[in-house]
């Protein structure tokens, strides 16, 4: 089978982001989506540490330690962009002003529950950051992840076993093998990597999946 590369997943997500959208890209994998946003669409990126209209990384030597993204990497501000404080930033999120948020995940349930902040291991130091606010705040929350763990277990599950980030908050899951819609009616496959089929995915995930165009 042909897996989509991380770059191809990022490009696949980017394709679904419409003109004029306000978007927050979570730290890690989703950050790469910015590189694939269609140049003919005006899309405004928000970063929860206080900027709207975030631009690409600066040229070497132009970094400003006071102009960073949520991952604390140097960025730039587009002409027309703005800065604001944390209460305003999370009001944008929680108040439903952000159209799309894309996050990484440890697990997503077919109902749209998300687990992405803590493995629950006793000796690990937990850190949540803005994940819980982002997950439940945006109008639509997408997840970008590899479908299987290194040991071959599905990260799309009937019920999350890792500590939850949010309940029924994810609507779409972009993976290296397929794109899924998730929610109250369960999981439906809406796009497949070459050589993949709904039946093969059902075996890999041990889930009941509806195919493209099918109800659940």
């Amino acid at each position: 089978m042909n897996r989509w590369t991380r770059e191809q997943i990022a490009a696949r997500v980017a394709r679904d982001i419409p003109e004029g959208a306000y978007v927050n890209l979570g730290i890690g994998l989703p950050t790469r989506i910015a590189d694939y946003l269609p140049a003919d669409r005006e899309i405004l990126l928000q970063s929860e540490n206080g900027l709207l209209g975030m631009g690409p990384a600066p040229a070497g030597g132009d970094e400003d330690p006071e102009l960073i993204n949520a991952g604390k990497q140097p960025v730039t501000l587009l002409t027309g962009g703005s800065y604001f404080h944390h209460a305003d930033s999370f009001a944008m999120m929680r108040g439903g002003h952000i159209d799309i948020c894309v996050l990484g995940a440890f697990q997503v349930s077919t109902q749209g529950d998300l687990a992405n902040w803590h493995t629950g291991e006793k000796d690990s130091i937990p850190a949540v950051g803005g994940a819980m606010d982002l997950a439940i705040g945006a109008k639509q929350t997408f997840v970008m992840m590899e479908l299987l763990t290194k040991s071959g277990e599905s990260k799309l599950v009937s019920h999350c076993t890792y500590p939850l980030t949010g309940i029924a908050c994810v609507s779409r899951v972009y993976t290296d093998l397929a794109v899924f819609e998730v929610g109250a009616r369960g999981a439906r496959v809406i796009d497949l990597a070459d050589g993949m089929s709904v039946d093969k995915l059902s075996v890999l995930t041990k889930l009941t999946l509806a195919g493209p165009g099918q109800g659940v």
């Binding site: 970063s47 929860e48 540490n49 206080g50 900027l51 132009d62 970094e63 400003d64 330690p65 006071e66 102009l67 960073i68 604390k72 501000l77 800065y83 604001f84 404080h85 944390h86 209460a87 930033s89 999370f90 999120m93 929680r94 803590h118 000796d123 690990s124 130091i125 937990p126 850190a127 949540v128 950051g129 803005g130 994940a131 819980m132 606010d133 439940i136 705040g137 500590p163 939850l164 980030t165 949010g166 309940i167």
Partner: protein, 206 residues
Amino acid sequence: MIGGFGTAGMPDELIDALIARGVGDLTLVNNNAGNAESGVAALIAAGRVRKIICSFPRQSDSHHFDARYRAGEIELELVPQGNLAARIHAAGAGLGAIFTPTGYGTMLAEGKETREIDGRQYVLEHPIRADFALIKAHRGDRWGNLVYRKTARNFGPIMAMAARTTIAQVSEIVPLGDIDPETVVTPGIFVQRVVAVPGSLQGSKQ
């Protein structure tokens, strides 16, 4: 309370002064738990912090916190970042508590009161206030009006509201009126002390 997101907006010089004064047994409110060797990390390394309230302690360069936490020497209260901001803002705005949707149904809301409002579930969260807030701004005047610089603004404006005494370090103290009243971000009523630290402006571009 100490402003900053990572090192952007971290008032390093005020923290150095705090360390020099020898105060300890502090409860700290910050987004993180220190980066590398300066600022909050230096305060933790000096053993002055009993408890930290933050959203994202674990980072590649949070080794001073990690060591003290694993040794059981620092208590951690983990708060989702938006709830941290909302609770600080609530304290500054004189609210008794807030109902927030963030964290509902997660282990960070365990044992907390919840309520359904208009069909959605919320968690009751209480304000976070402080005796002192140490923040970093770009320019200030003697009335305490402040403007910030880029993403160094982050928690500064709301922490200034939530502390009994707010001390702002600025790269420049300017005469009254030099800051356009239309662009004041933190009105001076929220700021009790302004300290000029001319070298503290990071980056070369305005």
